[in-house]
Symmetry: C2
Amino acid sequence: MLVRPKPGILDPQGKAVENSLRHLGFSVSEARVGKVVDLEVDASDSTEARAQVERMCEQLLANPLIESFEVEIHG
Amino acid sequence: MLVRPKPGILDPQGKAVENSLRHLGFSVSEARVGKVVDLEVDASDSTEARAQVERMCEQLLANPLIESFEVEIHG
C-alpha cells in the first residue's frame, strides 16, 4: 500500500528533495514524498486481503487528516 | 518512483509496523517500509523522463548499498 500527503498539505520532506535535486542540476517542478508498505497478510482471497489492508491503513498506517492511501493486491 | 529496502537488509521500521499490526490483532507475516517519491520533471518524452529519474535515484534518492528503486512514468 501507498501513503501520500494529501494535495495542499505541506510536505517538508518533498520540499527538501525538490531543493536537493535542483542543487544537483535537475529540473523538477514538484516532489512529494510518501511511504510504500509491502505487507504479507493471511487472507482467503484478494477481496478479503484488500479489506484487511484498508483497516490497517485506517487504524495505523495512514493519518486520515493529512494522508491518503492506495491499496494494491498482488498474488 | 519507489525505493525499498533490499531483500535481506534489516528494516527496523518494517519490524515496528509488523509488531504494531499484530498488537492490533492483524495477521501479518511480513511488513517492509520504503518510500514513494512523486516527481514532476521537465522531459520531452517518457524515455527521457525515465532516464532523468533514474539518475536522481542514483545520485540522491536511493542508497544503492541497501535499497533498490523502481521508476514508473505517468502522463
